[in-house]
């Protein structure tokens, strides 16, 4: 009896290993170089590779997270699991950074004196606070946003996205499996913003809305692999009689450009792992969009990826829009686009990434 244990143990563990190793995809296994071997990077690469490619990865991941959920944990990898949607745990932000980030905007405004607009978008966790698990601690974004707004100089006009979105809570304004807002959420804020910017918004009923994907699972799904939530719908908004795009040009940090024709939407993204890229295509430091409008209105947008699905609405009002990615270094973007050439400037970012964005901007200012 006691002797059998050892034989069973050895045979069974060999079977387990054979099963796991033969299901591990070793293609693309990191190759050691003299440099990565000597500074220890290779070890980290191998470990990261195995964490991704180990046999039965998804089942093992789900097994681990399910056990946590059964024992009473309400989140998977910093994402709260609720009945209706996945909600990200908000990073606690440094309140002291608010005046500093506002000062950066103010300096910018002092320098160019061009009409400047500012939108901070709250996360879904702020709007759907009541869905969060009991006692879950969360950063008060609403307050952070209003404090930031209060600290920017009076010349800069802001849009209270929090209240607009809160009043539309029952509508489909945030994806269930992704951190971003939906096109509809973006439209609601656009409506109010474009009014402040001196235009009349295109009424909602002028748009033809088509569902391009109904099985969209975004970044929150990717990090939790939690599949109990209904998949999301990606929408395309078409305005038949509206302004048409004449050219879209992407500028890259190394000085090269890419002509993207007249298409804003990137159909190929729908077949890729990152469907949200559909709205603005492959990320680039600057995207230059020209339309057939001849009103000589030129808009410069400093944005994070929340802006992507708002751009299709904005093109109805400008002859030229430059979309500058705030995650790229300001040095590069200043070289690509001189703010002085524009008639209006818009800062649009999610509150969640605003802190990192302005810190980044401060470094490269």
């Amino acid at each position: 009896m006691k002797n059998k244990y050892h034989y069973h143990m050895v045979i069974m563990i060999v079977l387990v290993y054979v099963a796991v190793i033969f299901n591990t995809g070793f293609r693309g296994f990191p190759k050691p170089t003299l440099k990565t071997l000597s500074n220890g990077v290779w070890g980290t690469q191998v470990e990261a590779f195995l964490e991704e490619k180990i046999g039965f990865h998804d089942s093992l991941f789900r097994l681990r997270s399910q056990i946590d959920l059964v024992f009473g944990e309400k989140s998977i990898r910093d994402v709260y699991i609720t009945d209706e949607m996945l909600l990200e745990k908000l990073d606690s932000q440094d309140a002291a950074s608010i005046p500093q980030s506002a000062a950066l905007l103010n300096r910018f405004y002092e320098k160019y004196h061009i009409p400047t607009y500012f939108i901070l978008v709250p996360s879904a966790s702020e709007i759907y606070e009541d869905l969060l698990p009991l006692n879950a601690v969360k950063e008060n974004q609403r307050q952070l946003i209003s404090e930031t707004y209060a600290a920017v100089s009076t010349g800069i006009r802001y849009v209270d996205a929090c209240n607009i979105l809160s009043s539309l809570k029952e509508e489909y304004i945030y994806y269930r499996n992704d951190t971003h807002w939906t096109s509809y959420g973006a439209y609601a804020v656009y409506q109010s913003a474009i009014h402040k910017m001196g235009f009349t918004a295109v009424p909602y009923n002028r748009y033809v809305v088509s569902h391009v994907r109904t099985d969209f699972r975004g970044d929150l799904y990717e990090s939790t692999l939690y599949s109990e939530i209904k998949p999301d719908i990606l929408d395309r908004y078409t305005y038949e009689n509206g302004a048409k795009i004449v050219s879209v040009t992407a500028h890259y940090a190394d000085g090269s450009t890419e002509d993207r024709g007249t298409a804003l939407y990137d159909e190929s993204a729908l077949e890729s792992g990152d469907m949200y890229r559909f709205y603005l295509g492959k990320p680039s430091p600057m995207l230059e969009i020209r339309t057939d409008l001849e009103n000589d209105k030129r808009l410069l947008i400093y944005k994070d990826d929340f802006a992507d699905c708002m751009i299709p609405f904005l093109i109805q009002h400008y002859s030229e829009i430059c979309v500058v990615d705030l995650t790229e270094s300001l040095e590069v973007t200043h070289r690509l686009a001189d703010p002085a050439k524009f008639t209006q400037i818009l800062f649009l970012s999610s509150m969640e990434s605003w802190e990192t964005l302005w810190l980044h901007a401060k470094e490269t200012e």
Binding site: Y7, M9, V16, L37, E47, I54, L60
Partner: protein
């Protein structure tokens, strides 16, 4: 390379074991030595110089001691000088390497120091011969399973086991089972507790509530226990696979009724080392009662500093030492008569002492103590309640494993028919545990060696 990584468990371990059993008997020792050095130098080949220096140093001093064997005073002086020198080097390196918590860093150095000094003292006290074959000594000092957190084994014991060639299917099977249990203790229990601990520590100490303070300390003590226990059991399992039975390093210390009983089940071989090579070696001839207490306190201060080179660790050692001395002096008799009091006193005093091991300064520790006695920011806060409700089941399970309070239930079940059924299913259970360990390793929420970065 850490033992609880996928790289090690999935790729390196099976390959190492397979080759070990395939190569001819004669080559096995050299093979183990080479594997040890390769794993040590993994990521930074120059680091191999560290163990090699220790081997050369200890080898040379060992031969010197052999020559001086007839001059007891000279021999004793050499041992004391070299021991003090090694301890000084270790302390200096730790102070320079900018961290007072890194008791494993540079990886294995603490173990090289302890094993080396133990070897030299053994030679001096004629417990074993000075080794004339440098390879044997090198294998002893660089035996890779124990480099992370022990357990320590004496030189004579190691060599006699090695000579018996005890690697066979029986030991391989038990070794794998033990390794899996150790891995589970580390990646299932310790890693979850470590994650929880790190989340709890995000509260600013000034605004901590009573509940959060107690939760933090409890989680920390159990985290530390399972982290060290896990590494020790992995080492014991691996040792067994190579035919070396390493001694038990931890018992089930929680819920004991005296600090003495707790520390008898805590880091057993390390504390035993200090007892033999420090206290017995230096104070053997001093029989006076108060001197004995003093040497005990002194030894624990040394253990504290061995855990981490800062004033707080020293203070921790001092407190434990004083408690142990007090128990020998008078407290022990009180506890014997009143078990409940013993439980309460042990739990309380240890909980307060643990605070010293994870806080960054005395002021911070004081804030935790203040909160623990109820003068912090209220009795409970949302933060603490959230984690308490999310992890209470997990904490209770961990606690059950860490205490021997309910041991008799397990023992009574073991002799029944169901118990025997379970025993025959053990290989299956352990294989499932291994699969779950894979799941935990890829789910990683905290770095493989959180304790080094606390």
């Amino acid at each position: 390379m850490y033992l609880s990584t996928l790289t090690f468990t999935l790729l390196v371990l099976p390959l190492t074991l397979l080759l070990f059993y395939l190569i001819p008997q004669k080559a096995k020792r050299v093979y183990l030595l080479v594997v040890g050095l390769l794993l040590y130098g993994f990521g930074n080949p120059l680091r191999v110089l560290v163990p090699l220096t220790y081997v050369l140093f200890d080898y040379g001093v060992g031969l010197l001691l052999k020559k001086a064997a007839s001059h007891r005073f000279l021999s004793r002086s050499i041992v004391m000088l070299t021991a003090a020198f090694q301890a000084a080097v270790l302390t200096a390196v730790r102070l320079v390497s900018d961290g007072n918590r890194e008791f494993l860093f540079p990886l294995g150095m603490a173990i090289f120091t302890l094993s080396g000094i133990g070897y030299l003292i053994g030679v001096h006290r004629k417990k074993h011969e000075a080794e004339s074959n440098i390879l044997s000594l090198a294998l002893y000092l660089t035996f890779f399973p124990i480099l992370y957190a022990g357990p320590l084994i004496s030189y004579g014991e190691f060599q006699s086991q090695l000579a018996k060639n005890r690697h066979n299917i029986v030991n391989l099977g038990s070794g794998i089972g033990l390794f899996i249990r150790g891995l589970a203790e580390k990646v299932v229990l310790a890693d979850t507790l470590g994650y929880l601990f790190r989340e709890l520590r995000q509260t600013a100490p000034a605004s901590i509530s009573m509940l959060t303070a107690w939760l933090t300390v409890t989680v920390f003590s159990m985290y530390l226990y399972f982290e060290l226990l896990g590494y020790a059991d992995m080492a014991r399992g691996l040792g067994l696979c190579f035919g070396i039975t390493l001694p038990k390093h931890f018992g089930q210390p929680f819920m004991t009724s005296s600090v003495t009983a707790f520390m008898e089940s805590w880091n057993i071989t390390h504390i035993h080392w200090f007892q033999v090579n420090f206290r017995d070696f230096l104070f053997r001839n001093i029989r006076h009662r108060w001197t004995k207490y003093a040497s005990l306190v002194l030894m624990w201060m040394l253990i504290g500093v061995w855990y981490g080179t800062s004033l707080q660790f020293l203070l921790w050692g001092l407190i434990i030492g004083i408690l142990l001395a007090a128990e020998q002096f008078v407290l022990g008799r009180v506890i014997k008569r009143n078990y409940a009091f013993g439980l309460l006193y042990t739990g309380m005093s240890l909980q307060f002492a643990w605070v010293l091991l994870f806080t960054d300064s005395m002021t911070e520790a004081a804030l935790y103590w203040k909160a623990m006695v109820g003068f912090g920011a209220g009795l409970a806060d949302r933060f603490g309640v959230y984690f308490f409700t999310s992890y209470i089941v997990f904490l209770l399970i961990s606690f059950y494993i860490a205490t021997d309070l309910f041991r008799n239930i397990t023992e009574r079940v073991a002799v029944t028919a169901i118990g025997r059924k379970i025993a025959s299913l053990m290989p299956l259970i352990e294989c499932v545990l291994m699969i779950f360990c894979f799941a935990c390793m890829l789910y990683k929420r905290i770095p493989a060696a959180l304790w080094l970065q606390l």
